[in-house]
Subunit: 597 residues, 2 copies
């Protein structure tokens, strides 16, 4: 993507192809299974589906036959034609064909006030449908679709209604696009953070604890601790002051901030205790504001950069909870910078420097970019402060242009109180997600009556920058799991080294090496089981440990280890101290490559 | 205290002295202020008080006069005599004396079914009173009491009733004990964690955030981070596996654990969301149990030591909330060890080794001891497992006896599910508090159906040890604040070094030294203000910074610093690198003394 360019518009023709394919699917099903009743069949993100109620048993094995027939009929170039009927006509029409579900849909349309319904016909197959479609089935590239899988789906999503069989198809403009999608999906499934998280024992879930409340197992907790210490130390070095504030706050705090009014649908219900209402906080801002307000501030105190690994909770529908990505409660590497207008440019630039550094160190820069949201002239949507907007947006754009990083612009999507800059990621499944957001805030200092005494003795309001650096730890861990498919660089790997003995003779030597490594704070494990070396290597590879150290009699005599590199599969014999030193160096420099063997 | 000995019984005679003094006080007040009406006057922990309704203005300046008169009348050896009256007689008696409050008390006694009330008389002063008292006022050591202060107190604690004047007195057996108490109290007030916490900007509170939800300011947060990293690293070194689990859990989880039934009064009301009840957890156990249960366990996996810096919430009455000591939510250095019976001795010993180490490193060993609680033969109070009790209590006592530390025993105070070992502290105000508790648990594995496959292939239940190492971080910080009066050893000090320039000529040199120190991860501040050196030193001392580095022309030329030791006030000139090296050594060895100057 070029700097400042919008992502491409949705492909209108592809939409028509997918929609038409669902009709072709339904026509073939009705041809092969005349007793089947039709549900609905829309186009979706990667293709289409259609829901059927089959009279007989239907299995995924039957898809091949349908697909072959579909390919065949596409060659006939049957035209799609639109007809308009009154609801009564349409009811009679589908009633005569025994299509109860369609009749129900028409009834609802009529009840909703529709006096006409549209149907599309091709090859004698007629469906209640709003369109649009391709002109004729010859416009559908026959090799660019496949029937994908079947699933159960309640009619109208209601578990009290009949369970239908949903047939999913994938469809693209070309065979190459289809193949690329299938390959990417396979890759994404292999890298799925829930799957890898389970295989590598990074995290688990418990129905009793609650959905969306994951438990980080020792190895996942190690990654969180590494990330947390990394970012806290880095922020301290860059002049942030870290604080700890509670995950609860009184409702009044969020009434003042405006969250209670505008953000309540994302907040869990309050806990009532001794006449007070306490809420699990959805944001840290008001807590940091209370710290700012805990003593008088002078211009000499600014910029004040309060940071926290901040626990917070935001409402998610239980159906949308997912692994470490969508959860009820999480920890954000959060900060609020209080500064003067004069300091805005430098402070915002420093934020971007830090984010860039975090992207580089984690490796995520490969899949991340910025999205700047500016204001426009919609009345009431943005705070009335033309001078403030002009200055802050100019700074924001100047800083972005100086960057050697791609970014996009979104005019009219700013926050009410100022422009914002999102950090976007393209996930392994190809979806775009916002990792976190940074905002310039010209409003909340007023609401919380935050001020500082300027050099001229006058009270002034600070600007507030809301920012993160490495995002929410849980989500970032999930993105890292997917990005690396669990094969983390040395500095992030929960286990960096596993020592494998060839026979029991090397056990003492192996323990001795392990202890030397522990002294150097290397995260090391021992595999001294009475198993074959091949099995030990295979299991170590499945655990995606950066280095397997193989210890036989030869190594023991020479005082060396044979180190096996996870990524290159290289094996090198080298002195123990040399390996320890190299590994420490690799960790300290946040190397993304494994270079020690 | 000797090992195994109970603390001394309450002093019965002192109780009588204090009670009698409240009568003497009231008698003198009535003599000097005949219009004053009597409230109540009990003995208390450190003396006594009496509540009065004065007709005129009364101030603390009037106490001296009363005290002088009290000392004088004590010499007269007036006897205390007991009389019994019917409620009607007593009502008439006090009514005649215009003592409305007494009349009200008698009315309530009568309403409660009392047919007799007792009064005590001395020196023509008569009070409604249950006693006991000394024989005569000559038994009261006249120099061992003082009138202390006055305060407002609503009659019967009810804010809708009249506000009375409460006069507090301190009273002990001897003048020496009184003086010692006053001195200790002054010291305790100087060291009060709220006062020091404010002076050193360690933490703050906000009515809007909520009472009992303190905010750790950057310097307090630094101490927490130091403690947290210290204990996590130490525990990892000792074979613990750290995890992160959520502060919420479903109510059902705590129903299974039994907390909901037995501990509900300490839990905040649940949050209802999508038909589930989520509670802020009061304990971590069930979360760790769910991790244990997340995969099959074998005897080879034991002991499994799951640890966490665990956020949790326990109900406190808002009136009892205090600084960092009594708060709504806190973070416990928590762990649960799952082990076999054979491993119990070694595991419990290792727990004590770790606690001893923590006490030594923090310096708190000076004021801490152990208290072991064993079971007795009360039916139903303790789980029925004679063999389990015998073994676990024997191990516990054997381990305690091997220790070079004092401990006491408390028979009959075990937990339902096993013996426990509390870590006790004597606070600066002389009060005994439990820092945290360690328990052997023979029950909960059964409740959560936790098991492991033993070497013989059979399923067995693990024993569970609940333990902490350094307690709840917030409370431990408060104890440390009080213990050190804010003058922390180098490794705990939020700011270790402040560099003071004598004039502007040294600013660059000072910044250069600061940067070198930051490289060595020293927590350093700069004071390059245009203020006198004396003022800079004074302010640095008030902040209790371990080392003030004074930089003048002489030091600049010689490439040295003059380091001023906070505790000894020694000043030594030494090369910058030498100072940095010494300080790093002092930190690394957790020295409690400042040795670098």
């Amino acid at each position: 993507m070029e700097n400042g360019e919008k992502p491409p518009q949705e492909d209108e023709q592809l939409y028509r192809i997918r929609h038409s394919l669902s009709h072709v699917l339904a026509a073939v099903v009705k041809e092969l299974y005349p007793e089947a009743k039709l549900g609905i069949g829309p186009p979706i993100d990667n293709g289409f589906y259609y829901d059927f109620q089959f009279a007989e048993e239907f299995s995924a094995n039957d898809l091949k036959k349908i697909q072959t027939r579909m390919r065949k009929v596409l060659g006939r170039k049957d035209a799609f034609t639109l007809k308009v009927m009154s609801p009564e006509e349409a009811t009679d029409f589908f009633w005569a064909r025994n299509e109860d579900f369609k009749v129900e849909l028409i009834k609802d349309l009529a009840a909703g006030g529709e006096t006409e319904v549209t149907i599309y016909e091709h090859d004698n197959f007629v469906d209640l449908c709003k369109g649009p479609h391709v002109n004729n089935t010859g416009d559908i590239p026959a090799r660019a679709f496949v029937l994908d899988r079947i699933a159960g789906a309640y009619w109208r999503g209601d578990e009290k209604r009949p369970m239908l069989t949903r047939i999913y198809g994938l469809a693209f403009n070309t065979r190459e696009e289809l193949d690329a999608y299938i390959k990417q999906r396979e890759e994404a499934m292999k890298r799925d953070s829930r799957k890898v998280g389970k295989e590598l024992e990074l995290f688990t879930a418990s129905e009793l604890v609650g959905r969306g409340l994951p438990l980080l197992l020792p190895k996942g907790a190690t990654i969180r601790r590494i990330l947390e210490r990394f970012i806290v130390d880095e922020e301290l070095k860059r002049g942030y002051e870290h604080v700890y504030t509670p995950v609860l706050g009184r409702k009044e705090l969020y009434e003042i901030s405006g969250h209670w009014e505008h953000y309540q649908e994302s907040m869990y219900p309050p806990i009532e205790w001794e006449g007070q209402s306490y809420v699990l906080r959805p944001m840290t801002c008001p807590h940091h504001f209370e710290i700012y307000a805990s003593k008088p501030r002078s211009y000499r105190d600014l910029p004040l950069r309060l940071a926290e690994i901040s626990p917070m909770f935001r409402k998610e529908k239980s159906g949308e909870l997912y692994g470490l990505i969508r959860i009820m409660g999480f920890h954000l590497a959060d900060a609020h910078i209080f500064c003067t207008t004069d300091q805005l440019y430098d402070e915002f630039k420093a934020i971007l420097d830090l984010i860039n550094y975090c992207m580089k160190v984690t490796g995520l820069e490969e899949v991340c970019w910025y999205k700047a949201s500016l204001h426009d002239d919609q009345k009431g949507k943005f705070v009335d402060n033309p001078e403030g907007w002009a200055l802050s947006e100019k700074h924001l754009l100047d800083i972005l242009k100086e960057q050697d990083r791609k970014y996009e612009l979104s005019v009219g999507d700013a926050a009410f109180y100022g422009p914002k800059l999102d950090v976007q990621i393209r996930t392994v499944s190809g979806k775009e997600e916002t990792i976190f957001t940074n905002q310039i805030d010209m409003v909340l200092a007023e609401r919380f009556n935050l001020e500082y005494t300027d050099a001229d003795g006058r009270k002034k309001r600070p600007l507030i920058l809301h920012r993160s650096s490495i995002g929410c730890l849980e989500r970032t861990i999930a993105f890292l799991i997917e990005f690396y498919a669990g094969a983390f660089p040395t500095w992030l790997a929960p286990v960096q080294v596993r020592i494998l003995t060839i026979s029991d003779r090397q056990i003492d030597y192996a323990k001795n090496i392990r202890d030397r490594m522990l002294q150097s704070k290397i995260r090391v494990e021992l595999d001294i089981r009475n198993e074959s070396l091949n099995r030990k290597i295979r299991e170590g590879r499945l655990q995606k440990i950066p280095y397997l150290l193989i210890i036989g009699d030869k190594e023991m005599e020479a005082g060396t280890v044979t180190a096996r590199n996870r990524d290159t599969h290289n094996q090198s014999a080298l002195p123990v101290d040399k390996f320890i030193q190299d590994l420490a160096g690799e960790e300290k420099t946040y190397s993304l490559k494994l270079n020690c063997a």
